[in-house]
Amino acid sequence: MYKKILHGMDGSDGSFKALSEAIALAKLYSAELHTVFVEEVPQYAGTIGEVIEEKASANGHYGKMMVKAQAMAEAEGIRLQSRAIVGHEVKTIVELVKRKSFDLLVIGFMGRSALYDRVMGSTCSSLVRLVPCSVLVVK
């Protein structure tokens, strides 16, 4: 049913829970499994150093997360292809799904307050609305 599955990673417990589901689905459907980590650099920066440091910090974070993610996939005999992309979370994932023709996006649910979601908008709901494929939100 699914041939190319994309998992959205942000390092939270929710995203690792989603990864477990994505691995299970990849195994069930013999699908390709990819994971993406979106690094957000500060917009309208005051110095180049600010951007460089935020990116270096995100890169370090990404490295640690991927060690854990790869171990989870390997334990189930699944090859996990990982990538980190600099950009806005929603825009980057939507573009990636379109360009690489993924047919399922698996993301973790991030429980924030209703007020936060109302003011800031929820990444989950934006992705569900904008990606052109099925989306599994794992709670």
């Binding site: 690094e39 957000e40 650099v41 500060p42 917009q43 309208y44 920066a45 005051g46 110095t47 180049i48 150093g49 600010e50 951007v51 440091e53 990116k55 890169n59 990404y62 990538r83 980190a84 992309i85 600099v86 950009g87 806005h88 573009e95 990636l96 360009r99 800031m120």
Partner: protein, 380 residues
């Protein structure tokens, strides 16, 4: 000083709030600090004191030094003519365009119009760098040309700010002479000295840099020039050393962003009057428009001359319309020295902040050059 620690707590509390908001919103802490500073100044009684002014002043010097130390001379050398051409045009045309408008149409005095011209002639290297990091263009030749041009643009602003309001006397000659001597000697002396003293907890390297910046700042004061001028120039000549010594640059950034630049950006915001932003919104919009139009007049034809694609030309020009740090430095210089009043300062800072946001959004939304996601920023 009354209630020094409570005042310190208010400033640091706002700095902390800015840092948290910046993390959540993925917007630069500098911009958030200006906005939080404006809220503090208008509604929380945040007012600069002599000691916060001192910390803000050191913050501006260090910020400018770090900006200079980020200039990669190899990038400028490799794209010399295009970056010099675009950089100079990106400074000169907006400077005279805004000066003309402020003096002849808005009725500002000549020195006030000069400050307006300077504040709106800048380009934000950091804003441009962040945008290009996001779309992967920082690794392309076009991206490097744009960055190099931004450095040249800001160098023009800092040089003119440093000499325009100076007293033309022996102090200026002494200041210029010592700065040139320091620019010649330091690239030779610093690697030797830093190797000798090594990296220690007492940070002799950073203390040495501060010593040089404060001495040159003192001379610039005597000449009625601006301390950020030597800071940027010394940063530029030491850039090859700092680009190869990332740990030292990182330690200086930590110090700057923890204790110095928050005072600078919060102060820059605290002096903004929100009622003036609202009542003079039209004039602020016109100033922003003049900045963008004059940047286009100066830069866009050159992008044609240097054979940029049409989309790339517009994108480059829009990115060079941005401004933030140097724009606020010029406006703050004007208000601190009594050249412009607080209403004019408010208008200029509002236009500068708008120039960080509006051209960036237009460039990203409609003119972003197409880059293959695999060839650009994927798998960082």
């Amino acid at each position: 000083m009354e209630h020094t620690w409570f005042v310190s707590a208010l400033w640091m509390g706002l700095a902390l709030l800015s840092a948290l908001l910046s993390m959540r919103l993925a917007i630069s802490v500098a911009l958030v600090e200006i906005i939080v500073g404006a809220i503090g100044g208008n509604w929380l009684g945040l007012a600069p004191t002599p000691w916060t002014n001192y910390l803000a002043g050191v913050g501006a010097i260090l910020l400018t030094f770090l900006a200079g130390a980020e200039v990669d001379p190899e990038v400028i050398r490799r794209n010399f003519w295009s970056s010099i051409g675009i950089g100079i045009a990106g400074f000169v045309v907006p400077f005279f365009g805004v000066l003309w408008y402020a003096y002849y149409i808005a009725g500002w005095s000549w020195p006030q119009a000069q400050i307006a011209g300077l504040a709106l002639s800048t380009t934000s290297v950091a804003v441009v760098y962040a945008v290009m990091t996001e779309n992967g263009m920082n690794n392309t030749e076009l991206g490097k040309i744009i960055l190099a041009a931004c450095f040249i643009n800001d160098l023009g602003t800092v040089l003119v700010l440093g000499v325009l309001f100076a007293n033309y006397n022996l102090w200026l000659v002494l200041f210029a002479g010592v700065t040139i001597l320091a620019m010649w000697l330091l690239p030779k002396f610093v690697p030797f000295f830093f190797r000798k003293v090594g990296s220690r907890v007492s940070e002799p390297e950073i203390k040495f840099i501060f010593l040089v910046l404060f001495l040159l700042g003192g001379l610039s004061d005597m000449a009625k020039s601006e301390a950020v001028l030597p800071a940027y120039l010394i940063g530029m000549v030491l850039a090859p050393f700092f680009l190869g010594n990332k740990v030292l640059a990182q330690r200086m950034r930590v110090m700057a962003f923890t204790l110095l630049t928050p005072f600078y950006f919060l102060k820059a915001g605290a002096l903004v009057k929100v009622d003036i932003v609202i009542s003079a919104a039209g004039l602020i919009g016109i100033m922003l428009l003049i900045k963008i139009v004059t940047k286009f007049i100066g830069i866009w034809p050159l992008t044609k001359y240097f054979r940029f694609e049409k989309r790339e030309g517009v994108y480059t020009t829009l990115l060079m319309c941005t401004g933030l740090t140097f724009g606020t430095i010029c406006a703050l210089f004007g208000v601190s020295n009594g050249i412009i009043n607080s209403d004019q300062y408010t208008m200029l800072v509002a236009a500068v902040i708008a120039s960080a946001v509006v051209p960036t959004l237009i460039a990203q939304r409609w003119f972003q050059p197409h880059i293959d996601i695999n060839g650009g920023n994927d798998n960082v």
